[in-house]
């Protein structure tokens, strides 16, 4: 119960006496800004599964780049584009519902990535671990700079596209009629989503980035009545998850990214249960159909 009876040593001291903890905190917070504002639209547009697939689908690109010795971020971006293109191709060529194609490609790309990495037997588990689960405590100043740029691009992008995304989510035909280019908007959102995933996988890992993309906005949707408020609440909830997650990880010796992800999902469940007691929580009831 250190966080209650010795709050300074539990909450503050880990950051003041460990430089890597400050960098981890900054990296986590920048990640949360980028993923929460973009994730808000991913959640509202019902693209969570595609986001999940995209996050895991970049693994082969990372693996090839890693083995060939060039920047893994570039490899991940290329793989993300391939994944988006494949999803589109399967959607237009097969009569199956979207989620079948997305699920197949997602597991196909993930296993392809694992196969590539495992072909280099020496350090297979360590490398795979790092790609899948990230290492928030191992970020350097170059990582922080990259995350800052991506956070700024994410916020600017969602501000510029706000009306286009709102109308597209409401009614695609209306978006066409008022000249807000629905297909271009969708493509821009996919690009932003890929950017957030690719830029943050080194911090939070391939398997866990989806928690940062989905959990804070989903929690915010439970309590907020307007989209800009959802974004702000999501960033705040994500920040809480990062701080609490890092500290638990520090004190309990658990994996940092997984602990942060776990806290963000736990927050969602807590808010879901407590929602009837929260004054001013959204009047929309549970889905009835």
């Amino acid at each position: 119960m250190g966080f209650l009876n010795d709050p300074y040593h539990w909450w503050v001291e880990p950051f003041t006496s460990n430089p890597f903890m400050i960098r981890a905190l900054l990296a986590g917070l920048l990640t949360v800004v980028a993923t929460s504002v973009i994730g808000t639209w991913v959640v509202l547009r019902g693209m969570s599964f595609l986001g999940d697939a995209l996050a895991h689908g970049v693994l082969p690109g990372i693996a090839v780049a890693f083995i060939a010795g060039f920047d893994t971020t570039v490899g991940a971006m290329v793989a993300a584009l391939v994944m988006v293109g494949l999803v589109h191709a399967v959607r237009t060529r097969s009569p199956l519902p979207d989620d079948v194609g997305i699920g197949l490609l997602f597991v196909g790309m993930l296993s392809f990535g694992v196969v590539i990495i495992s072909s280099r037997r020496s350090s297979y588990v360590g490398d795979l671990n790092r790609f899948l689960f990230g290492s928030v405590t191992g970020v350097d100043s170059a990582d922080l700079l990259r995350l800052t740029v991506v956070a700024v691009v994410a916020v600017a992008g969602t501000l510029v596209l706000y009306r286009a995304l709102l109308v597209l989510t409401f009614d695609e035909t209306l978006a066409r009629m008022v000249g807000l280019r629905p297909r271009l908007t969708h493509l821009a959102l996919l690009t932003l989503m890929a950017l957030a995933i690719v830029a943050t996988f080194g911090v939070v890992g391939n398997l866990l980035v989806i928690a940062f993309l989905i959990a804070p906005p989903a929690t915010a949707v439970l309590v907020a009545r307007r989209v800009p408020v959802i974004m702000a609440v999501a960033v705040a909830l994500g920040a809480v998850s990062v701080v609490v997650g890092i500290l638990i990880s520090f004190h309990a010796g658990t994996a940092a990214s997984a602990t942060m992800a776990l806290v963000s999902v736990a927050l969602f469940l807590v808010v879901l249960v407590l929602r009837p007691l929260i004054p001013g929580a959204r009047a929309l009831g549970p889905r009835t159909r």
Binding site: L44, G46, V160, L161, R163, A164, L166, V167, T169, F170, D171, T173, L174, R176, M177, V178, G179, L180, V221, A224, R225, R226, V227, I230, R282, A283, L284, R287
Partner: protein
């Protein structure tokens, strides 16, 4: 009241009040190899109401999609007044994303995005305009309610207000009153009439012959072809209706009104 008067540039002659907004000459469209519409010829004039009627699957919605510019005719010619007049389209009730948090005021304001684009801020005049159209549809008290929580009739009124907020010169309405409460029905019909009186052209699809009788022009479709086009009196004859609807027409035996037995087809969401 002058029905249509607008300034025009030196290069384009001023459209006369009676010049059509849009002229369709033998237009048709195919989906795959199957013709959905073929050989339709008609004109849409400013300040008039055109009712499009016909059985389900006769191509009514496809015709509206063509006029909205969502589809292009694969044959014939669809020519427009220049510059192309702004067109607003009220589609059949779409499946609203219920978890999308939006007030009715925000939904109506989306209509102004047509003029404001991505970034230009809403002016005080924009807000006043939205408040005014909400007043016309008697939904002023719903503006701060969540759109997803409104009844079907209330949602449709909000969407009509959104359409008016676009200040279009041609409004397209796909079965705007089917399945609504009577108060919403009469309110929406009245608004369409008022728009026409102000010089706007309206094209609506309907299953209600009464609604078609009040239009200036009726287009009667069957299986993608025009059975008849013209004034309601000329089009809504027992012979024409029987040709379009087959056995589902109950012809008047003693001078009463003609009735068409047609399913009102489409799901319009949960009732109020």
């Amino acid at each position: 009241m002058p029905r249509s008067s607008r300034p025009s540039g030196p290069t384009s002659p001023a459209p006369s009040p009676t010049a059509p907004l849009c002229r369709a000459l033998e237009i048709g469209i195919e989906f795959g190899s199957r013709p959905a519409l073929s050989g339709l010829t008609f004109e849409i004039h400013p300040g008039t109401i055109t009712a499009v009627i016909g059985p389900n699957g006769s191509g009514k919605t496809t015709l509206l999609n063509l006029l909205a510019g969502l589809e292009r005719p694969s044959s014939g010619e669809l020519s427009w007044q220049r510059p192309h007049p702004p067109v607003a389209y009220l589609t059949q009730r779409h499946s609203t994303v219920r978890w999308l948090p939006l007030t009715s005021a925000e939904v109506i304001r989306m209509g102004r995005y047509r003029m404001r684009g991505l970034l230009r801020p809403m002016s005080a005049a924009d807000r006043r305009f939205c408040t005014r159209v909400a007043g016309e549809l008697e939904i002023g008290d719903l503006l701060h309610r969540q759109y997803g929580n409104l009844s079907g009739g209330q949602q449709q009124r909000v969407l009509v207000a959104q359409m008016l907020a676009q200040e279009a010169r041609l409004i397209l309405l796909d079965e705007p009153i089917t399945g609504l409460d009577l108060a919403s029905q009469s309110r929406i019909i009245e608004i369409v009439g008022r728009q026409a009186a102000a010089g706007v052209a309206a094209v609506l699809t309907t299953h209600h012959l009464d609604e078609a009788r009040d239009a200036d022009q009726v287009l009667l479709l069957s299986e993608g072809r025009m059975v008849a086009a013209g004034s309601p009196g000329a089009v809504l004859t027992a012979a024409n209706l029987r040709s379009a609807y087959g056995d589902r027409v109950l012809a008047p035996t003693t001078g009463g009104e003609i009735t068409v037995l047609d399913d009102h087809g489409h799901d319009h969401g949960p009732p109020g």
